[in-house]
């Protein structure tokens, strides 16, 4: 299989004064499912369209397998794009839609037929092959768009929020399908979404974007468990933050002593490489409710806080705590028992493993 490596080097794309993509570089490995994740307006679509050739970058270069493609017009880049709106040709039937790109590649006759029916099989749309697009549901149109893009066996698949117009249940189904399909075909894929759960579920690696720049690149696990800035931590799931002032950190032996929630906490020096104010971040599900007499395990830390709010969500129970440092923390109790639920105003003890503590400098990574 001829898999393609995509190298994006210092790409900048401006619209007037707005830098939609700002000096951005990424290396995407052959056969990788790579996700661009970020809030609306952060430049995901612009970057994708620049790769497809619909925008032309102000500076920087793009390489497919080491070959510069900047001079190639969009119709010669051999990318397969799935648009957010699906962009199905309304005047063609389902199979004519799928055949469109093949015909442009001068594929005719039996070969054409076979490829079309294979692609329709892959997206499980064979029985609809003679339908008109306006008789199809959103999910079906989305499958057609995918089939139309994969059938040409492009160098790279580009998907721009392909699931955002579907309902929640279908969205989960489809993203599993897309991942299976991508792994089966082995085509390098760049996937755009603003949905962090989708990104974590589907990707090999994720780039979290912030205002046209990369905030962090990593595997889903790294992005979720080891965010390198409060922006990433906040964008990926909810998180609890505490600002730690520089003057509350002091050196003691080969460790640092930090005053956290009015108690001393001793951290290994490589956990705390910064010389400035830092932010402590702990995921709500990493915090564990403990009884007062429970013995703290090795490498754990606990503190006591007042419950300021409670929310019952069926599968989980959420406390909002007023911590001793005056921060507002969320704690989730998964699969709660009746006895687990405490009332507002009560004091409870929460603890967490120091492995679940993430530390980053104020104002992001610089």
């Amino acid at each position: 299989m001829n898999q393609v490596q995509v190298k994006i080097e210092n790409i900048t794309k401006k619209f007037g004064a707005v830098k939609a993509v700002d000096d951005l570089s990424i290396d995407i490995q052959p056969g990788e499912l790579f996700t661009l994740l970020g809030p609306s307006g952060c430049g995901k679509t612009t970057l994708l369209r620049t790769i497809a050739g619909f925008n032309y970058q102000n500076s920087g270069q793009i390489f497919f397998n080491g070959k510069n493609i900047d001079r190639l017009p969009p119709h010669k880049r051999d990318t397969g794009m799935v648009f957010q709106t699906y962009a199905i040709f309304p005047f063609l039937t389902v199979s004519e839609n799928v055949a469109y790109g093949l015909k442009a590649r001068k594929i005719r006759g039996k070969e054409l037929k076979e490829k079309v029916s294979r692609a329709l099989e892959l997206v499980r749309m064979t029985e609809y092959k003679d339908r008109r697009p306006d008789q199809l549901s959103g999910g079906q149109q989305q499958r057609i768009a995918v089939a139309r893009a994969i059938v040409i066996e492009p160098k790279v698949l580009l998907m721009d929020e392909p699931l955002s117009n579907l309902d929640a249940k279908l969205r989960v189904e489809m993203r599993t399908d897309i991942r299976h399909l991508q792994k089966k075909l082995g085509i390098t894929m760049i996937y755009v979404t603003h949905d962090q759960e989708e990104a974590l579920d589907i990707s090999d690696r994720i780039a979290v974007l912030e205002k046209g720049k990369i905030a962090q690149v990593g595997t889903p696990w790294e992005i979720y468990q080891r965010p390198i800035s409060s922006y990433v931590a906040d964008f990926i799931g909810t998180s609890n933050f505490s600002l730690i002032k520089q003057n509350t950190i002091s050196k003691s032996g080969d460790k640092f002593k930090v005053i956290f929630q009015n108690k001393s906490i001793h951290l290994h020096s490589d956990l705390l490489p910064y010389k400035d104010d830092v932010i402590f971040s702990i995921r709500p599900e990493a915090l564990k409710i403990m009884s007062d007499d429970e013995i703290l395990p090795e490498n754990w830390f606990s503190f006591t806080s007042r419950i300021s709010e409670t929310t019952y969500l069926g599968s989980k129970f959420v406390y909002v705590l007023d911590t001793p440092m005056g921060d507002s923390y969320q704690v989730t109790v998964v699969n709660p028992d009746r006895d687990d639920m405490e009332d507002v105003g009560k004091m409870i003890r929460v603890g967490f493993s120091l492995n679940d503590l993430t530390i980053f400098p104020v104002g992001g990574n610089s």
């Binding site: 619909f54 017009p73 119709h75 648009f83 962009a87 199905i88 040709f89 005047f91 442009a104 008789q135």
Partner: protein, 557 residues
Amino acid sequence: MISLPKKRFDIWYIPVIIVIACYGLFLLYPVYNVIKSSFFNESGSTITFNSYVKFFTVPYYYRALLNTLCLGFFGTLIILLITLPLAYFYTRTRIFGHVAIGTIIWIPYLTPAFIGAYTWLILFGKFGLVTKFLISIGFENPPTISGLGGILVIFVLSYYPFGFVLLKGAFETIDPSLEESAENLGSSPFRRFWTVTLPAATPSILNAGLMVFIIIIDAFGIPAIVGIGVPVLTTLVYGEFTSEIGGPPIMAATGSTILLSISLTILIIQRVYLKKRSYFSRGVARPKMVNPKLGKKIILTLIFLIVLILSLLPIITIIISAFTKADGPVLRYGTWTLENFEKTLYSVWVPLKTSVMLAFGSSILDLLLGGLMGYVIVRKGKLLGTFMDAFTSLPLGIPGVLLGIGLVISFSSRPILLAGTGFIIVIAYFVRRLPHPIRTVSSLLSQINPDVEEASVNLGVPPIKTFYKVTTRMVLPGIITGGLLAWTSSIADLTCTILIFSAKWKTLTIETYSQIRGDQYGAASVLGLFLMITVVTPVFILNILNDRKKRKEMVEE
């Protein structure tokens, strides 16, 4: 949408340049010549305002202006007052035969206005059927359609469908949630109309009014046929121009320049207004239709029936008259005959062929360049789009008589000697009707997501090929509708044609008009019938094709 590395010469500039060149040479240059000659003296050597002084002091001239303004104002007012309730009820209540009524009501608008005027003359004129009937039952002075009042009535009868269609569109596109929320707040239907619907529709109503006004002041056929003794600007200009052969047509130029200043003012007001339409939802949601109580439903249906009969009367009249024995302007009803056809048929074919050729040529040009311009306006960037949109709508504000005069005085001598050729007629039709396909295509295209075209490029089809494989395909209905509009209005054109035709290039409208003026009602009816058939046939063919397609799709499902 797609920008390439090094900007080469964009191929899309070619049609843009062609259109700008055509407008420059065949629209702006003639208009400039007319305006210029209105400011020069007889010998063309010094600039004067004499002609304007003369225009505003001699009653013969300024009366025409007053008549035009008066007809325009009251005609528009009456049409709005009639069509406002019609359009409102049509869009909000179910009546019997809803669809049929909506279709048939178009007929007078498809009918060339001067044919309509002619049929009303047949019915209500000095020898008119109704007039004679009224005299026979004892009326001494039955109402006739002469004078200002008469023209006003004919204008209203000829152009109310236009007002109706525009207002129908206005009421259909008001965001239904506006009305629904008013309903939720407990507003009565009557109150809701006055406090919500009407204010929301006001910009569109004003817009419709302005368009009707322009059509009325621009019309030549109706005042020329029913308005003997009531000069308006168009007939005045025509009269001055045809009698001033020899010297420069100064008064004709002056009159048409004044007409131009009125219609351009209206066009500018209209464009400013169009910008501010904000109460409208984008298409999808339609207002709720209520099913009224039977009594109310019957009354409403009857009202629409009367309107329908008025719409159909001209076509019925002209069919009957074509088969009725005629002595000059006197038609002997009840005496069925084919005599008119026998006498006239030999003189039908040549003008029919001429009309079809000229209108066909110009409509093809219109739909080709109109389609390309529609694309440029929507897809080729805001700056170029806005400019071309405004620039290409210029003909809407330029009166036909003025363009006719301008073309004649601009191209009667070398180096470009075009006067008297068929080419100049094609050009005039082409330039005048180009805004139609541009409008229909651009409004359709602006609702189509550019993603679809980009998807085609992404799949490996180059932009130009994508344009004709995908874009053209998707805007085809707009191209056809726009081309058809260009066709019907070119075939039916009298206002401009009458100034630029020559003996070799006599159109059906010219032939019909001269038979009417020559009091040959038998021949006029036959010619008029053929004229209507040529106008309406493509519309019907299209409807039939559409129906077939719909039925075929239903079978497929």
